[in-house]
Protein backbone atom coordinates (compact mmCIF):
# COMPACT_ATOMS: atom_id res chain seq x y z
CA UNK A 1 0.00 0.00 0.00
CA UNK A 2 1.28 3.45 -0.76
CA UNK A 3 1.36 6.12 1.89
CA UNK A 4 -1.61 7.82 0.33
CA UNK A 5 -3.97 4.84 0.44
CA UNK A 6 -2.96 3.60 3.86
CA UNK A 7 -5.38 4.54 6.64
CA UNK A 8 -4.39 7.80 8.29
CA UNK A 9 -4.01 7.38 12.01
CA UNK A 10 -3.61 10.22 14.47
CA UNK A 11 -2.79 10.14 18.16
CA UNK A 12 -3.85 13.00 20.44
CA UNK A 13 -3.35 13.66 24.07
CA UNK A 14 -5.49 15.40 26.66
CA UNK A 15 -4.73 15.32 30.39
CA UNK A 16 -2.60 12.24 30.92
CA UNK A 17 0.85 10.90 31.60
CA UNK A 18 1.72 9.59 28.08
CA UNK A 19 1.91 6.05 29.42
CA UNK A 20 -0.57 4.79 26.87
CA UNK A 21 1.26 6.39 23.96
CA UNK A 22 4.42 4.74 25.22
CA UNK A 23 2.67 1.39 24.85
CA UNK A 24 2.50 2.14 21.13
CA UNK A 25 6.14 3.21 20.88
CA UNK A 26 7.22 0.15 22.86
CA UNK A 27 5.50 -2.16 20.42
CA UNK A 28 8.83 -2.58 18.57
CA UNK A 29 8.50 -5.21 15.81
CA UNK A 30 4.78 -4.79 15.66
CA UNK A 31 5.42 -1.11 15.15
CA UNK A 32 7.30 -1.83 11.94
CA UNK A 33 4.42 -3.90 10.61
CA UNK A 34 2.11 -1.22 11.84
CA UNK A 35 4.09 1.44 10.00
CA UNK A 36 3.70 -0.65 6.86
CA UNK A 37 -0.03 -0.90 7.26
CA UNK A 38 -1.01 2.53 8.46
CA UNK A 39 0.17 6.05 8.04
CA UNK A 40 0.65 7.74 11.39
CA UNK A 41 0.07 11.38 10.58
CA UNK A 42 0.03 12.81 14.03
CA UNK A 43 1.71 11.42 17.10
CA UNK A 44 2.24 13.93 19.85
CA UNK A 45 4.76 11.73 21.62
CA UNK A 46 6.89 10.56 18.70
CA UNK A 47 7.43 13.66 16.63
CA UNK A 48 6.39 17.24 16.45
CA UNK A 49 5.26 16.81 12.86
CA UNK A 50 1.52 17.11 12.46
CA UNK A 51 -0.71 16.74 9.48
CA UNK A 52 -4.17 18.18 9.39
CA UNK A 53 -7.21 15.89 9.33
CA UNK A 54 -9.35 14.14 8.39
CA UNK A 55 -8.12 10.97 10.04
CA UNK A 56 -9.36 7.44 9.49
CA UNK A 57 -8.60 6.36 13.02
CA UNK A 58 -7.85 8.65 15.92
CA UNK A 59 -6.55 7.57 19.29
CA UNK A 60 -7.21 9.97 22.10
CA UNK A 61 -5.33 9.59 25.34
CA UNK A 62 -6.17 11.47 28.50
CA UNK A 63 -9.17 12.97 30.21
CA UNK A 64 -10.88 16.29 29.76
CA UNK A 65 -9.78 18.47 32.63
CA UNK A 66 -9.17 21.91 31.14
CA UNK A 67 -11.67 24.15 29.34
CA UNK A 68 -9.78 24.31 26.03
CA UNK A 69 -9.71 20.52 25.84
CA UNK A 70 -13.45 20.46 25.39
CA UNK A 71 -13.15 22.46 22.17
CA UNK A 72 -10.11 20.52 21.08
CA UNK A 73 -11.72 17.13 21.45
CA UNK A 74 -14.80 18.30 19.55
CA UNK A 75 -12.58 19.40 16.71
CA UNK A 76 -10.74 16.09 16.76
CA UNK A 77 -14.05 14.27 16.64
CA UNK A 78 -15.09 16.21 13.57
CA UNK A 79 -11.85 15.27 11.85
CA UNK A 80 -12.07 11.57 12.75
CA UNK A 81 -13.93 8.74 11.10
CA UNK A 82 -13.29 6.35 13.96
CA UNK A 83 -12.35 7.62 17.39
CA UNK A 84 -10.81 5.39 20.03
CA UNK A 85 -10.43 6.62 23.59
CA UNK A 86 -7.39 4.91 25.05
CA UNK A 87 -6.53 4.39 28.67
CA UNK A 88 -8.12 4.85 32.05
CA UNK A 89 -7.97 8.67 31.80
CA UNK A 90 -9.77 8.84 28.47
CA UNK A 91 -12.34 6.21 29.41
CA UNK A 92 -13.11 7.00 33.03
CA UNK A 93 -11.39 10.25 33.93
CA UNK A 94 -8.33 8.56 35.38
CA UNK A 95 -6.59 9.06 38.64
CA UNK A 96 -7.04 12.80 38.26
CA UNK A 97 -10.79 12.26 38.63
CA UNK A 98 -10.09 11.82 42.33
CA UNK A 99 -10.58 15.55 42.45
CA UNK A 100 -14.12 15.31 41.11
CA UNK A 101 -15.48 14.95 44.59
CA UNK A 102 -13.11 17.52 46.05
CA UNK A 103 -12.55 21.22 45.64
CA UNK A 104 -10.28 21.31 42.59
CA UNK A 105 -9.35 24.93 43.17
CA UNK A 106 -7.85 24.00 46.50
CA UNK A 107 -5.59 21.42 44.84
CA UNK A 108 -4.38 23.98 42.35
CA UNK A 109 -3.72 26.54 45.06
CA UNK A 110 -1.61 24.14 47.05
CA UNK A 111 0.37 22.77 44.10
CA UNK A 112 1.10 25.76 41.90
CA UNK A 113 2.77 28.99 43.09
CA UNK A 114 0.72 31.21 40.77
CA UNK A 115 -2.59 29.42 40.51
CA UNK A 116 -4.24 32.14 38.43
CA UNK A 117 -2.31 30.91 35.33
CA UNK A 118 -3.61 27.34 35.60
CA UNK A 119 -6.96 27.04 33.94
CA UNK A 120 -8.60 23.87 35.05
CA UNK A 121 -12.07 22.41 35.16
CA UNK A 122 -13.54 21.30 38.44
CA UNK A 123 -13.72 17.76 37.11
CA UNK A 124 -11.69 15.30 35.09
CA UNK A 125 -14.02 13.42 32.82
CA UNK A 126 -13.82 10.73 30.12
CA UNK A 127 -13.86 11.59 26.42
CA UNK A 128 -17.25 9.96 25.97
CA UNK A 129 -18.81 12.57 28.27
CA UNK A 130 -18.01 15.15 25.60
CA UNK A 131 -18.06 13.54 22.17
CA UNK A 132 -19.20 10.30 20.58
CA UNK A 133 -16.56 7.60 21.03
CA UNK A 134 -16.51 4.61 18.70
CA UNK A 135 -14.41 2.34 20.89
CA UNK A 136 -12.91 2.45 24.35
CA UNK A 137 -9.71 0.67 25.26
CA UNK A 138 -9.39 0.81 29.00
CA UNK A 139 -6.37 0.26 31.25
CA UNK A 140 -3.61 2.19 32.94
CA UNK A 141 -1.78 1.86 30.69
CA UNK A 142 -3.67 0.18 27.86
CA UNK A 143 -2.61 -3.29 26.82
CA UNK A 144 -0.44 -3.21 23.73
CA UNK A 145 -1.81 -6.50 22.43
CA UNK A 146 -5.34 -5.25 22.77
CA UNK A 147 -4.49 -2.06 20.88
CA UNK A 148 -2.73 -3.92 18.08
CA UNK A 149 -5.62 -6.39 17.93
CA UNK A 150 -8.07 -3.52 17.65
CA UNK A 151 -6.09 -1.84 14.87
CA UNK A 152 -5.68 -5.13 12.98
CA UNK A 153 -9.40 -5.75 13.18
CA UNK A 154 -10.17 -2.26 11.93
CA UNK A 155 -7.73 -2.78 9.06
CA UNK A 156 -9.57 -6.00 8.22
CA UNK A 157 -12.79 -4.02 8.12
CA UNK A 158 -14.23 -5.27 11.38
CA UNK A 159 -15.18 -3.78 14.68
CA UNK A 160 -12.71 -5.05 17.30
CA UNK A 161 -14.02 -7.51 19.84
CA UNK A 162 -13.31 -6.27 23.35
CA UNK A 163 -14.20 -8.77 26.03
CA UNK A 164 -16.15 -7.52 29.03
CA UNK A 165 -15.51 -10.60 31.20
CA UNK A 166 -13.67 -10.39 34.50
CA UNK A 167 -9.90 -10.36 35.03
CA UNK A 168 -10.35 -13.71 36.80
CA UNK A 169 -11.31 -15.43 33.56
CA UNK A 170 -7.92 -14.49 32.12
CA UNK A 171 -6.10 -15.05 35.43
CA UNK A 172 -7.34 -18.63 35.42
CA UNK A 173 -6.62 -19.11 31.72
CA UNK A 174 -3.01 -18.27 32.47
CA UNK A 175 -2.95 -20.66 35.40
CA UNK A 176 -2.05 -18.11 38.06
CA UNK A 177 -2.79 -19.11 41.60
CA UNK A 178 -5.56 -16.87 42.92
CA UNK A 179 -4.01 -14.41 45.38
CA UNK A 180 -7.33 -13.77 47.06
CA UNK A 181 -8.04 -17.41 47.81
CA UNK A 182 -4.50 -18.63 48.44
CA UNK A 183 -3.12 -15.57 50.23
CA UNK A 184 -6.05 -13.49 51.33
CA UNK A 185 -4.82 -10.57 49.20
CA UNK A 186 -7.53 -8.06 48.32
CA UNK A 187 -8.06 -8.32 44.58
CA UNK A 188 -10.47 -6.38 42.37
CA UNK A 189 -10.11 -8.93 39.56
CA UNK A 190 -13.61 -10.39 39.99
CA UNK A 191 -15.25 -7.05 39.20
CA UNK A 192 -12.68 -5.68 36.77
CA UNK A 193 -12.74 -6.03 33.02
CA UNK A 194 -10.21 -8.34 31.44
CA UNK A 195 -7.62 -7.05 28.97
CA UNK A 196 -4.42 -6.66 30.97
CA UNK A 197 -3.47 -10.32 30.89
CA UNK A 198 -4.02 -10.52 34.67
CA UNK A 199 -0.79 -8.63 35.17
CA UNK A 200 -0.98 -7.98 38.90
CA UNK A 201 -1.96 -11.51 39.98
CA UNK A 202 0.93 -12.71 37.78
CA UNK A 203 3.20 -10.91 40.22
CA UNK A 204 1.36 -12.15 43.27
CA UNK A 205 -0.51 -8.88 43.82
CA UNK A 206 -4.19 -8.14 43.87
CA UNK A 207 -5.74 -6.38 40.88
CA UNK A 208 -6.14 -2.59 41.21
CA UNK A 209 -9.04 -2.38 38.83
CA UNK A 210 -7.22 -0.27 36.27
CA UNK A 211 -9.18 -1.72 33.34
CA UNK A 212 -12.41 -0.48 34.87
CA UNK A 213 -15.57 -2.37 35.81
CA UNK A 214 -16.41 -5.69 34.17
CA UNK A 215 -19.87 -6.23 32.88
CA UNK A 216 -21.79 -5.78 35.18
CA UNK A 217 -19.83 -6.09 38.41
CA UNK A 218 -21.14 -7.21 41.79
CA UNK A 219 -19.10 -4.70 43.74
CA UNK A 220 -21.27 -5.09 46.84
CA UNK A 221 -20.43 -8.74 47.25
CA UNK A 222 -16.72 -8.22 46.63
CA UNK A 223 -16.67 -5.26 49.01
CA UNK A 224 -18.20 -7.42 51.73
CA UNK A 225 -15.63 -10.12 51.09
CA UNK A 226 -12.72 -7.69 51.32
CA UNK A 227 -14.06 -6.43 54.63
CA UNK A 228 -14.28 -10.06 55.79
CA UNK A 229 -10.65 -10.49 54.83
CA UNK A 230 -9.88 -7.86 57.42
CA UNK A 231 -9.64 -4.74 55.29
CA UNK A 232 -11.22 -1.71 56.98
CA UNK A 233 -14.20 -0.50 54.94
CA UNK A 234 -12.55 2.86 54.37
CA UNK A 235 -9.70 1.11 52.58
CA UNK A 236 -12.15 -0.98 50.59
CA UNK A 237 -13.87 2.22 49.45
CA UNK A 238 -10.48 3.68 48.58
CA UNK A 239 -9.66 0.62 46.48
CA UNK A 240 -12.68 1.31 44.31
CA UNK A 241 -11.80 5.02 44.21
CA UNK A 242 -8.44 4.42 42.65
CA UNK A 243 -7.37 4.57 38.99
CA UNK A 244 -10.82 4.09 37.47
CA UNK A 245 -12.71 5.36 40.50
CA UNK A 246 -14.84 7.72 38.43
CA UNK A 247 -16.29 4.88 36.35
CA UNK A 248 -19.91 4.85 37.50
CA UNK A 249 -19.92 1.28 38.84
CA UNK A 250 -16.83 1.82 40.98
CA UNK A 251 -17.90 5.28 42.07
CA UNK A 252 -21.23 3.93 43.28
CA UNK A 253 -19.48 1.02 44.96
CA UNK A 254 -17.14 3.30 46.87
CA UNK A 255 -20.00 5.58 47.89
CA UNK A 256 -22.13 2.65 49.01
CA UNK A 257 -19.32 1.24 51.12
CA UNK A 258 -18.58 4.66 52.57
CA UNK A 259 -22.29 5.18 53.34
CA UNK A 260 -22.54 1.72 54.86
CA UNK A 261 -19.63 2.61 57.05
CA UNK A 262 -21.33 5.75 58.23
CA UNK A 263 -24.38 3.65 59.07
CA UNK A 264 -22.15 1.27 60.98
CA UNK A 265 -20.70 4.16 62.94
CA UNK A 266 -24.15 5.42 63.78
CA UNK A 267 -25.29 1.96 64.74
CA UNK A 268 -22.25 1.30 66.87
CA UNK A 269 -22.95 1.82 70.56
Amino acid sequence: MSASTKPRVAVFKMASCDGCQLQILDAEEALLDLAGAINIVNFAEASSYMEPGPYDVTLVEGSISAPEQIEQVKEIREQSKFLIAIGACATSGGIQALRNTQDAGAFVRTIYPTPEYVKTLATSTPIADHVRVDLELTGCPIDRGQLLGALSALLAGAMPRISTSSVCVECKRRGYVCVLVAKGEPCLGPVTRTGCGALCPAFGRGCYGCFGPSQPPNTDALGRRLVDLGLPSKLVADKFRFITGWAPAFREAADAIADGRKDEEVAAP
Binding site: L155, T164, S166, V177, N218
Partner: protein, 371 residues
Protein backbone atom coordinates in the same frame (compact mmCIF):
# COMPACT_ATOMS: atom_id res chain seq x y z
CA UNK B 1 -1.01 -55.48 43.07
CA UNK B 2 2.59 -54.48 42.68
CA UNK B 3 4.79 -52.57 45.06
CA UNK B 4 7.26 -49.83 44.13
CA UNK B 5 9.63 -48.30 46.62
CA UNK B 6 10.22 -44.57 46.41
CA UNK B 7 13.42 -44.95 44.48
CA UNK B 8 11.88 -47.19 41.85
CA UNK B 9 8.95 -44.80 41.53
CA UNK B 10 11.40 -41.97 40.89
CA UNK B 11 13.09 -44.06 38.23
CA UNK B 12 9.79 -44.80 36.55
CA UNK B 13 9.02 -41.11 36.35
CA UNK B 14 12.50 -40.43 34.97
CA UNK B 15 12.06 -43.19 32.40
CA UNK B 16 8.89 -41.57 31.14
CA UNK B 17 10.69 -38.27 30.78
CA UNK B 18 13.55 -40.07 29.06
CA UNK B 19 11.15 -41.62 26.59
CA UNK B 20 10.07 -38.19 25.50
CA UNK B 21 6.91 -37.71 27.55
CA UNK B 22 6.00 -34.29 28.82
CA UNK B 23 5.68 -34.98 32.55
CA UNK B 24 2.73 -33.31 34.22
CA UNK B 25 2.55 -33.57 37.97
CA UNK B 26 1.88 -31.69 41.17
CA UNK B 27 4.46 -29.22 42.39
CA UNK B 28 4.53 -26.24 44.72
CA UNK B 29 4.24 -22.84 43.09
CA UNK B 30 2.95 -19.47 44.34
CA UNK B 31 1.48 -20.80 47.55
CA UNK B 32 -0.34 -23.79 46.14
CA UNK B 33 0.26 -27.32 44.92
CA UNK B 34 -0.38 -26.84 41.24
CA UNK B 35 -0.35 -29.27 38.34
CA UNK B 36 2.49 -28.28 36.05
CA UNK B 37 5.29 -29.49 33.83
CA UNK B 38 7.81 -31.24 36.08
CA UNK B 39 11.26 -32.67 35.46
CA UNK B 40 11.08 -35.66 37.75
CA UNK B 41 9.86 -37.08 41.03
CA UNK B 42 12.03 -34.60 42.93
CA UNK B 43 9.63 -31.83 41.89
CA UNK B 44 6.70 -33.48 43.67
CA UNK B 45 5.48 -31.72 46.83
CA UNK B 46 7.29 -33.62 49.52
CA UNK B 47 6.32 -32.82 53.10
CA UNK B 48 3.61 -30.41 52.02
CA UNK B 49 -0.09 -30.45 52.78
CA UNK B 50 -2.98 -28.07 52.29
CA UNK B 51 -6.12 -26.78 53.93
CA UNK B 52 -9.12 -25.97 51.82
CA UNK B 53 -12.42 -24.34 52.62
CA UNK B 54 -14.96 -22.19 50.81
CA UNK B 55 -12.96 -19.37 49.21
CA UNK B 56 -9.75 -20.28 50.98
CA UNK B 57 -6.69 -22.41 50.33
CA UNK B 58 -3.49 -22.55 52.38
CA UNK B 59 -0.38 -24.68 52.16
CA UNK B 60 0.67 -26.47 55.33
CA UNK B 61 3.83 -28.37 56.13
CA UNK B 62 4.03 -32.03 57.08
CA UNK B 63 6.74 -33.75 59.03
CA UNK B 64 7.02 -36.72 56.72
CA UNK B 65 8.17 -37.24 53.15
CA UNK B 66 4.79 -38.21 51.72
CA UNK B 67 4.28 -36.59 48.31
CA UNK B 68 0.56 -37.15 47.76
CA UNK B 69 -0.89 -36.46 51.20
CA UNK B 70 -3.18 -33.67 50.14
CA UNK B 71 -6.20 -33.50 47.87
CA UNK B 72 -5.78 -31.39 44.76
CA UNK B 73 -4.73 -27.96 43.59
CA UNK B 74 -6.57 -25.48 41.42
CA UNK B 75 -6.04 -27.43 38.20
CA UNK B 76 -6.89 -30.85 36.86
CA UNK B 77 -6.03 -32.57 33.59
CA UNK B 78 -8.27 -30.12 31.74
CA UNK B 79 -5.59 -27.46 31.60
CA UNK B 80 -3.42 -29.78 29.50
CA UNK B 81 -5.89 -31.80 27.45
CA UNK B 82 -8.17 -28.84 26.78
CA UNK B 83 -5.76 -25.92 27.14
CA UNK B 84 -7.05 -22.54 28.17
CA UNK B 85 -5.88 -21.01 24.93
CA UNK B 86 -5.12 -22.87 21.76
CA UNK B 87 -4.88 -21.95 18.10
CA UNK B 88 -7.24 -24.34 16.33
CA UNK B 89 -6.95 -23.02 12.80
CA UNK B 90 -4.76 -20.70 10.83
CA UNK B 91 -6.17 -18.92 7.83
CA UNK B 92 -4.21 -17.23 5.10
CA UNK B 93 -5.13 -15.06 2.20
CA UNK B 94 -2.81 -14.82 -0.73
CA UNK B 95 -3.86 -13.03 -3.89
CA UNK B 96 -7.43 -13.34 -2.78
CA UNK B 97 -7.13 -17.13 -2.27
CA UNK B 98 -8.33 -18.21 1.17
CA UNK B 99 -6.91 -21.27 2.92
CA UNK B 100 -7.90 -22.53 6.34
CA UNK B 101 -5.73 -25.14 8.10
CA UNK B 102 -6.92 -26.80 11.29
CA UNK B 103 -4.38 -29.53 11.93
CA UNK B 104 -3.54 -30.55 15.50
CA UNK B 105 0.01 -29.80 16.57
CA UNK B 106 2.70 -32.38 17.15
CA UNK B 107 3.54 -31.71 20.78
CA UNK B 108 5.18 -34.28 23.02
CA UNK B 109 2.65 -36.65 24.56
CA UNK B 110 1.75 -36.07 28.19
CA UNK B 111 2.45 -38.44 31.05
CA UNK B 112 0.28 -37.43 33.98
CA UNK B 113 1.70 -38.32 37.35
CA UNK B 114 -0.59 -38.18 40.33
CA UNK B 115 -4.03 -37.37 38.99
CA UNK B 116 -6.80 -38.03 41.50
CA UNK B 117 -9.79 -40.22 40.93
CA UNK B 118 -12.00 -37.16 40.52
CA UNK B 119 -9.58 -35.85 37.90
CA UNK B 120 -9.68 -39.12 35.97
CA UNK B 121 -13.47 -39.11 36.10
CA UNK B 122 -13.43 -35.51 34.91
CA UNK B 123 -11.39 -36.53 31.88
CA UNK B 124 -13.94 -39.25 31.15
CA UNK B 125 -16.62 -36.58 31.32
CA UNK B 126 -14.76 -34.27 28.92
CA UNK B 127 -14.13 -37.25 26.62
CA UNK B 128 -17.86 -37.37 26.01
CA UNK B 129 -17.78 -33.76 24.95
CA UNK B 130 -14.63 -33.58 22.84
CA UNK B 131 -13.35 -36.97 21.82
CA UNK B 132 -15.44 -37.39 18.70
CA UNK B 133 -15.70 -33.73 17.84
CA UNK B 134 -12.26 -32.31 18.27
CA UNK B 135 -9.10 -33.77 16.74
CA UNK B 136 -6.87 -31.54 18.86
CA UNK B 137 -8.28 -32.94 22.08
CA UNK B 138 -8.47 -36.47 20.74
CA UNK B 139 -4.84 -36.53 19.71
CA UNK B 140 -3.57 -35.38 23.10
CA UNK B 141 -5.97 -37.56 25.00
CA UNK B 142 -5.18 -40.75 23.18
CA UNK B 143 -1.43 -40.38 23.38
CA UNK B 144 -1.32 -39.53 27.09
CA UNK B 145 -0.34 -41.85 29.94
CA UNK B 146 -2.09 -41.68 33.29
CA UNK B 147 -0.66 -42.52 36.68
CA UNK B 148 -3.43 -42.00 39.20
CA UNK B 149 -3.22 -41.66 42.96
CA UNK B 150 -5.76 -42.92 45.46
CA UNK B 151 -6.55 -40.11 47.85
CA UNK B 152 -5.43 -40.38 51.46
CA UNK B 153 -6.35 -36.92 52.72
CA UNK B 154 -9.49 -35.47 51.12
CA UNK B 155 -9.77 -31.70 51.10
CA UNK B 156 -12.19 -29.63 53.10
CA UNK B 157 -14.40 -29.09 50.05
CA UNK B 158 -14.26 -32.61 48.57
CA UNK B 159 -17.41 -34.69 48.07
CA UNK B 160 -16.39 -37.34 45.54
CA UNK B 161 -17.99 -40.16 47.55
CA UNK B 162 -21.35 -38.44 47.01
CA UNK B 163 -20.73 -38.34 43.27
CA UNK B 164 -19.38 -41.88 43.04
CA UNK B 165 -16.07 -40.67 41.63
CA UNK B 166 -13.55 -41.42 44.37
CA UNK B 167 -11.51 -41.40 46.49
CA UNK B 168 -10.07 -44.55 44.90
CA UNK B 169 -9.23 -44.55 41.20
CA UNK B 170 -11.61 -46.78 39.29
CA UNK B 171 -11.33 -45.68 35.67
CA UNK B 172 -9.05 -43.96 33.22
CA UNK B 173 -5.60 -44.87 34.55
CA UNK B 174 -2.74 -47.04 33.41
CA UNK B 175 -1.30 -47.25 36.92
CA UNK B 176 -2.87 -46.20 40.20
CA UNK B 177 -0.77 -45.61 43.28
CA UNK B 178 -1.62 -45.78 46.94
CA UNK B 179 1.10 -44.05 48.89
CA UNK B 180 2.39 -45.80 52.02
CA UNK B 181 5.22 -44.47 54.20
CA UNK B 182 7.92 -46.43 52.34
CA UNK B 183 6.56 -46.59 48.83
CA UNK B 184 3.55 -47.29 46.66
CA UNK B 185 1.09 -50.09 46.17
CA UNK B 186 0.40 -50.05 42.45
CA UNK B 187 -2.66 -51.23 40.59
CA UNK B 188 -1.93 -51.97 36.96
CA UNK B 189 -4.95 -51.66 34.72
CA UNK B 190 -3.86 -51.50 31.11
CA UNK B 191 -1.34 -53.06 28.76
CA UNK B 192 0.42 -49.72 28.76
CA UNK B 193 0.52 -49.84 32.54
CA UNK B 194 2.05 -53.30 32.39
CA UNK B 195 4.74 -52.08 30.07
CA UNK B 196 5.45 -49.12 32.30
CA UNK B 197 5.84 -51.12 35.48
CA UNK B 198 8.26 -53.43 33.76
CA UNK B 199 10.71 -50.62 33.22
CA UNK B 200 11.68 -50.52 36.89
CA UNK B 201 12.21 -52.97 39.73
CA UNK B 202 8.88 -53.76 41.36
CA UNK B 203 7.62 -56.70 43.34
CA UNK B 204 4.30 -58.22 44.23
CA UNK B 205 2.75 -56.27 47.10
CA UNK B 206 2.44 -58.17 50.37
CA UNK B 207 -0.95 -58.91 51.83
CA UNK B 208 -0.19 -56.46 54.58
CA UNK B 209 0.63 -53.72 52.09
CA UNK B 210 -2.55 -54.37 50.16
CA UNK B 211 -4.53 -54.16 53.39
CA UNK B 212 -2.76 -50.93 54.33
CA UNK B 213 -3.64 -49.51 50.94
CA UNK B 214 -7.29 -50.45 51.38
CA UNK B 215 -7.25 -48.79 54.77
CA UNK B 216 -6.03 -45.56 53.18
CA UNK B 217 -9.09 -45.53 50.96
CA UNK B 218 -11.49 -46.48 53.73
CA UNK B 219 -10.16 -43.75 55.93
CA UNK B 220 -10.33 -41.21 53.13
CA UNK B 221 -13.94 -42.12 52.48
CA UNK B 222 -14.75 -41.15 56.03
CA UNK B 223 -13.05 -37.78 55.79
CA UNK B 224 -14.91 -36.04 53.01
CA UNK B 225 -15.16 -32.33 53.69
CA UNK B 226 -18.64 -32.20 52.24
CA UNK B 227 -21.48 -34.35 51.02
CA UNK B 228 -24.30 -33.89 48.60
CA UNK B 229 -27.56 -35.66 47.96
CA UNK B 230 -27.96 -36.01 44.19
CA UNK B 231 -31.19 -37.98 44.25
CA UNK B 232 -33.82 -36.90 41.76
CA UNK B 233 -31.43 -35.18 39.38
CA UNK B 234 -32.02 -33.74 36.85
CA UNK B 235 -35.67 -33.19 37.81
CA UNK B 236 -34.92 -31.44 41.09
CA UNK B 237 -33.25 -28.53 39.34
CA UNK B 238 -35.54 -28.56 36.29
CA UNK B 239 -38.62 -28.07 38.44
CA UNK B 240 -36.96 -25.35 40.52
CA UNK B 241 -36.06 -22.92 37.77
CA UNK B 242 -38.08 -20.21 39.49
CA UNK B 243 -36.78 -20.93 42.99
CA UNK B 244 -35.99 -17.85 45.13
CA UNK B 245 -32.58 -19.28 45.97
CA UNK B 246 -31.26 -18.16 42.57
CA UNK B 247 -31.77 -14.55 43.52
CA UNK B 248 -30.23 -15.16 46.89
CA UNK B 249 -27.06 -16.65 45.47
CA UNK B 250 -26.91 -13.96 42.78
CA UNK B 251 -26.56 -11.35 45.50
CA UNK B 252 -23.40 -13.11 46.65
CA UNK B 253 -21.98 -14.28 43.31
CA UNK B 254 -19.43 -12.05 41.61
CA UNK B 255 -20.03 -13.60 38.17
CA UNK B 256 -16.25 -13.76 37.98
CA UNK B 257 -16.13 -17.22 36.39
CA UNK B 258 -13.53 -18.72 38.70
CA UNK B 259 -15.77 -21.70 39.41
CA UNK B 260 -16.12 -22.56 35.74
CA UNK B 261 -12.39 -22.21 35.12
CA UNK B 262 -11.47 -24.31 38.13
CA UNK B 263 -14.05 -26.97 37.35
CA UNK B 264 -12.32 -29.89 35.65
CA UNK B 265 -15.29 -30.64 33.41
CA UNK B 266 -16.48 -27.20 32.29
CA UNK B 267 -15.85 -27.07 28.56
CA UNK B 268 -17.47 -23.86 27.31
CA UNK B 269 -15.24 -21.76 25.17
CA UNK B 270 -15.06 -18.89 22.73
CA UNK B 271 -13.45 -18.96 19.34
CA UNK B 272 -11.56 -15.71 18.94
CA UNK B 273 -10.36 -14.40 15.63
CA UNK B 274 -6.94 -12.80 15.60
CA UNK B 275 -5.50 -10.97 12.64
CA UNK B 276 -1.89 -10.19 11.94
CA UNK B 277 -1.25 -6.49 11.57
CA UNK B 278 0.04 -7.19 8.07
CA UNK B 279 -3.34 -8.58 7.18
CA UNK B 280 -2.27 -11.87 5.57
CA UNK B 281 -2.62 -14.39 8.40
CA UNK B 282 -5.50 -14.90 10.79
CA UNK B 283 -5.74 -17.29 13.70
CA UNK B 284 -8.80 -18.92 15.18
CA UNK B 285 -8.04 -19.38 18.85
CA UNK B 286 -10.09 -21.36 21.32
CA UNK B 287 -10.22 -19.78 24.78
CA UNK B 288 -11.89 -20.94 27.96
CA UNK B 289 -15.05 -18.90 28.39
CA UNK B 290 -17.48 -18.73 31.26
CA UNK B 291 -21.26 -18.86 31.27
CA UNK B 292 -20.97 -16.34 34.11
CA UNK B 293 -19.86 -13.62 31.68
CA UNK B 294 -22.66 -11.50 30.36
CA UNK B 295 -21.22 -11.59 26.84
CA UNK B 296 -21.39 -15.39 26.81
CA UNK B 297 -25.06 -15.42 25.83
CA UNK B 298 -24.90 -12.46 23.47
CA UNK B 299 -27.04 -12.48 20.38
CA UNK B 300 -27.76 -9.49 18.23
CA UNK B 301 -29.27 -6.75 20.30
CA UNK B 302 -29.35 -8.62 23.61
CA UNK B 303 -27.80 -10.91 26.15
CA UNK B 304 -30.06 -13.89 26.77
CA UNK B 305 -28.86 -14.27 30.36
CA UNK B 306 -28.77 -10.69 31.48
CA UNK B 307 -29.27 -11.25 35.19
CA UNK B 308 -26.71 -12.88 37.45
CA UNK B 309 -29.30 -15.26 38.82
CA UNK B 310 -30.00 -16.61 35.35
CA UNK B 311 -26.29 -17.20 34.87
CA UNK B 312 -25.83 -18.95 38.19
CA UNK B 313 -28.90 -21.04 37.44
CA UNK B 314 -27.50 -21.92 34.02
CA UNK B 315 -24.24 -23.10 35.50
CA UNK B 316 -25.59 -25.12 38.40
CA UNK B 317 -28.43 -26.60 36.38
CA UNK B 318 -26.13 -27.50 33.54
CA UNK B 319 -23.53 -29.06 35.78
CA UNK B 320 -25.84 -31.17 37.92
CA UNK B 321 -28.90 -31.66 35.72
CA UNK B 322 -28.92 -30.96 31.98
CA UNK B 323 -25.46 -32.50 31.63
CA UNK B 324 -27.15 -35.81 32.37
CA UNK B 325 -29.53 -35.32 29.44
CA UNK B 326 -26.75 -34.12 27.17
CA UNK B 327 -23.95 -36.54 27.96
CA UNK B 328 -25.44 -39.31 30.06
CA UNK B 329 -23.44 -38.35 33.15
CA UNK B 330 -23.41 -35.65 35.78
CA UNK B 331 -21.09 -32.78 34.98
CA UNK B 332 -19.83 -32.77 38.56
CA UNK B 333 -17.19 -35.11 39.90
CA UNK B 334 -17.32 -33.76 43.44
CA UNK B 335 -13.82 -32.30 43.55
CA UNK B 336 -14.96 -29.14 45.33
CA UNK B 337 -12.64 -26.88 43.35
CA UNK B 338 -15.47 -24.52 42.54
CA UNK B 339 -16.02 -24.08 46.27
CA UNK B 340 -12.40 -23.55 47.22
CA UNK B 341 -11.55 -21.24 44.34
CA UNK B 342 -14.67 -19.10 44.50
CA UNK B 343 -13.39 -15.79 45.87
CA UNK B 344 -16.52 -15.46 47.99
CA UNK B 345 -16.79 -19.13 48.91
CA UNK B 346 -20.11 -20.00 47.30
CA UNK B 347 -20.71 -23.69 47.89
CA UNK B 348 -22.59 -25.79 45.33
CA UNK B 349 -23.45 -28.40 47.94
CA UNK B 350 -25.00 -25.74 50.14
CA UNK B 351 -26.95 -24.18 47.25
CA UNK B 352 -28.38 -27.50 46.09
CA UNK B 353 -29.18 -28.55 49.65
CA UNK B 354 -31.03 -25.27 50.18
CA UNK B 355 -33.06 -25.78 47.02
CA UNK B 356 -33.86 -29.36 47.99
CA UNK B 357 -34.98 -28.25 51.44
CA UNK B 358 -37.50 -25.86 49.92
CA UNK B 359 -38.23 -27.87 46.78
CA UNK B 360 -40.98 -26.27 44.73
CA UNK B 361 -40.84 -22.85 46.29
CA UNK B 362 -41.23 -20.14 43.67
CA UNK B 363 -40.21 -16.56 43.48
CA UNK B 364 -43.23 -14.51 44.45
CA UNK B 365 -43.51 -11.49 42.24
CA UNK B 366 -43.37 -8.29 44.23
CA UNK B 367 -46.75 -7.00 43.04
CA UNK B 368 -48.39 -10.15 44.32
CA UNK B 369 -46.73 -9.79 47.67
CA UNK B 370 -47.86 -6.23 47.98
CA UNK B 371 -51.51 -7.02 47.30
Amino acid sequence: MRYLDREAFGKLVDALAGAGYDLIGPTVRDGAIVLDHIDGAEDLPSGVGEEQGPGTYRLTSRDDDMVFSWAHGPDAGKRFLFPAREVLCTAKRNDGQLTVECRPGDERPFAFVGLRSCDLHAIAVQDRVFLDADPHYARRRERALFIGVNCAVPGGTCFCTSMGTGPKCTIGFDLALTELPGGFVVEVSSPRGEQMIEVVRSREATEEEVRAAQAVTTEAEGQMGRSLDVADMPELLYRNREHPRWKDVAARCLACGNCTSACPTCFCHDIVEGMSITGDTATRTREWASCFSEEFSHIVGMEIRKSRESRYRQWLTHKFASWIDQFGTSGCVGCGRCITWCPVGIDVTEEITAIRATDGEVEVAEEVMAS
